[in-house]
Amino acid sequence: MDFGDVINHIFGHFINPQKRIFFGYFCLSFFIGFTWLFVLKKKSVRTSLAIIFSRNVWMGRSAKVDYTIFILNRILTLFISPSLITQLAIATAVYFWLHGVSWLQVGAFAQWPKPVIIALYTIIIFVIDDFSKFFVHMMMHKLPFLWSIHQTHHSAETLTPITVYRVHPLEGILYALRGSVAQGTTLALVFFLFGSSVSLASVLGINVIVFVFHIAGSNLRHSHIRIRYWRWLETLLISPAQHQLHHSIAVEHYNKNFGVALAIWDWLFGSLIYSQADDAVLEFGLLEKGVKSNHSAWILYCKPFVHLYGCACSLLMMSKYQIVKFLRYALKILSVNL
């Protein structure tokens, strides 16, 4: 791999329609944000543009950490990604396993009309993928050792679309594995039952539903533009304002709105809150002992390992009684959420 390939790998997401930060989605998000501020919020053109392109947001210290972590993570994926299990490997294993299930027959529903199969697959893969993101995200907030790595993302004090990449590498691995398991399992099952008619309804190479999610302003989730939906719609879909509440340091917003595209998961698991009508400024970031803490990329990379080391040491030093107590606590967290 030469230098050009490395540069392409790092910044290729900006020209890849499969990625949220594709420049086309960026432009649409700016347009949606401007329309929201200028048309609905009656801001002047100058004010609207000033809010969208705020120097404090885009060139602030937090944003610079976003950019640094983005580049470092892109470089790290060069080395990590090849060794991760792919959705194809999981799909193949599941597909093989399904052949041994006596009450299932290959192509049992292969005679269904092709458009129905395509629509079904496109919806199923989207819904399961979205649920798996919700669930893993929720666990990252509920389980201490996962929270220690997810803090990197929540340390952002200003939100830019690049904040979506502000994650600890361990979280990146966890999310990649989540994608492999969710997508691999689903596509194996659907392909097993519906046969060769299965294909994805796609636009620009991605699931048409994900495409709609992106052109509808997915980048505004990590921004300071508080776009809200109607209440009924916020029960179905997470609005940018709802995700911004998820990043808020206000106690009443803790552990709310874990969803990515669909809000129904939060509604089902009791973690949904709706956006607020007032224009109160939300504060983002992390509180440590009641004080907002600032972090460099280096600290953000290392700190989770220190936390994890502490967790491991505690676990090793536990008595049997303590281990049982810890497991009960973990089960309690899980049962509350399930």
């Binding site: 997401h13 499969q18 990625k19 949220r20 993570n73 994926t77 990604s81 991760l84 792919t86 959705q87 194809l88 799909a91 193949t92 597909y95 093989f96 052949h99 041994g100 299930v101 006596s102 299932l104 027959q105 290959v106 192509g107 893969i125 993101k133 995200h137 997810h150 993302h153 979506v164 990449y165 994650v167 590498p169 979280e171 990146g172 999310y175 990649a176 594995l177 994608g179 492999s180 997508q183 691999g184 596509l187 194996a188 392909f191 060769s196 299965v198 294909s199 994805l200 796609s202 190479g205 991605i206 699931n207 994900v210 989730r221 995700h243 998820h246 990515v260």
Partner: protein, 466 residues
């Protein structure tokens, strides 16, 4: 096509072939044997191998002519006379004229006399077939069983004998003789040296004839490198006389103008555009023969033999690749046939034709898998796993399958397997062929659609989160 058009076409091909013949035709090559004073001007000779291809084709054809048992004794004797060879000048049963595709020879002695298959069949024990028999014994057993069936197919066991016999014989004779004998032991310095005649009175040297015989077993027409994969495939299918008839006499000379055996399969895979098995192997044979011809009857140097060994490895690897591709392809066919059978059973529809096609494809799968195991490489655990996955027999309509054979030659079918389990075995076979042999043509790939679906989803390398 009129005779004049045919002649003109053949002439054009002849002229074209003539221009390119030095590098693209297998022969003619000059006599280099020191001290030879005869009238021969071309040292190429591999008619014995062509005769064996014809014996194989004839055995396969005859194995499918049983009438259900009434003619079994006579038929078995007739087939065995081709397998073991005969003092009589036997008629060629296959290939024979088909439409305008007229074959020059009608009897075996017009090609070469006194040839047989049994003497050149791999003599080791065949673990892939019930009974722990040697290669020749397996084929004799199959021939006798075939003669007692109707049309070569036994619906009880699911065995399609013409396919089993054919695909195994191609491996046990042609492939095995080439990679284990002519391109192995006979390339050694002291074996069949190039400064001596192959045998007393021969007009070709030891190395010339060893290499020629290997080429003969490969089965490609001498001018085949001038043709496309599709043309070479169509020659074996007897569809393209103009491509076959290199000398323009309106007839196909089996001794040099026809594609036999694995060469045909190589062309079949290559016409898909993903592989070049046929040309790679044929060109390697031509390159090797030129090295021998250029030695001008002198003993080959170590360097020249090293070049031949290198070419032999290319030939052996690609040849093995062709057989692995065939195993891959027919594992996919069997998988698809089971789907069709299950659909028909669910719908209460007729299954006889589907089951017969399933048996035919399984016979090809099994035969090729057995051929794969008689090459130069000891496949070890891969062979054991391949045999376990395919089994001794296909899953039959009552889910039983052959598990062994008793001393009287009766097959035991005392176990049952679900269709889904057997389909899984086919998938694992395809994966094995891809992983262990690197197959590229991948006909009837049953996992490619799953791979395509996976690639249509977003890659896992992203660290996006929320």
């Amino acid at each position: 096509m009129s005779k004049s058009k045919l002649g003109a076409t053949a002439l054009v091909i002849c002229l074209g072939a003539g221009l390119a013949s030095a590098d693209t035709n297998y022969g003619p090559y000059p006599i280099t044997l020191k001290g030879y004073n005869g009238m021969k001007s071309n040292s190429v000779s591999y008619t014995g191998q062509i005769a064996r291809h014809v014996l194989h084709d004839s055995v396969k054809k005859l194995a499918g002519t049983g009438d259900g048992g009434a003619n079994s004794g006579r038929l078995a004797a007739e087939i065995l006379s081709y397998f073991h060879g005969s003092d009589k000048n036997k008629s060629i049963i296959a290939p024979v004229d088909k439409g305008e595709f007229n074959i020059k020879q009608e009897t075996l002695n017009e090609i070469s006399s006194g040839k047989n298959l049994s003497g050149k069949t791999y003599k080791g024990v065949i673990n892939a077939w019930p009974g722990q028999m040697t290669g020749p014994d397996v084929i004799v057993s199959m021939i006798k069983k075939a003669a007692a069936t109707k049309g070569g197919f036994d619906p009880v066991t699911g065995y399609n004998y013409p396919q089993l016999i054919s695909k195994f014989t191609m491996g046990a004779v042609s492939y095995n003789q080439t990679v284990n004998n002519y391109l192995d032991g006979k390339l050694a310095a002291d074996s069949k040296p190039n400064n001596k005649p192959y045998k007393e009175g021969a007009y070709y040297t030891g190395k010339e004839h060893s290499w020629d015989e290997a080429f003969g077993y490969w089965g490609a027409a001498a001018h085949s490198l001038n043709l496309t994969a599709k043309q070479n495939y169509d020659i074996a299918k007897m569809k393209d006389l103009s491509a076959a008839d290199a000398n323009g006499d309106g007839l196909v000379d089996l001794k040099s103008e026809y594609n036999f055996g694995h060469a045909y399969y190589g062309a079949a895979f290559d016409k898909g555009g993903k592989t070049t098995y046929f040309n790679t192997i044929t060109k390697s044979f031509i390159d090797g023969r030129k090295i021998i011809a250029n030695a001008a009857g002198e003993k080959l140097s170590d360097g020249e033999r090293a070049e031949l060994y290198a070419l032999a490895k290319v030939i052996g690897d690609n040849w093995e690749g062709i057989i692995a591709e065939a195993v891959f392809k027919y594992a996919g066919s069997v998988y698809k046939d089971i789907n069709k059978l299950q659909d028909a059973l669910s719908a209460g529809a007729e299954t006889d034709k589907i089951y017969a096609a399933y048996g035919k494809h399984w016979g090809e799968l099994k035969g090729f898998s057995m051929a794969l195991q008689v090459g130069k490489n000891n496949l070890g655990a891969t062979a054991a796993e391949l045999n376990r996955l395919i089994g001794f027999g296909p899953v039959t309509m009552n889910n039983s399958y052959v598990t062994g054979v008793d001393t009287n030659g009766n097959y035991a079918m005392d176990r049952r397997r679900a269709w889904g389990d057997y389909q899984l075995h086919m998938l694992k076979i395809q994966k094995m062929m891809a992983d262990e042999f690197g197959v590229k043509a991948r006909n009837n790939d049953q996992l490619s659609e799953l791979e395509a679906l996976a690639s249509s989803l977003s890659a896992t390398e992203s660290a996006e989160t929320d």
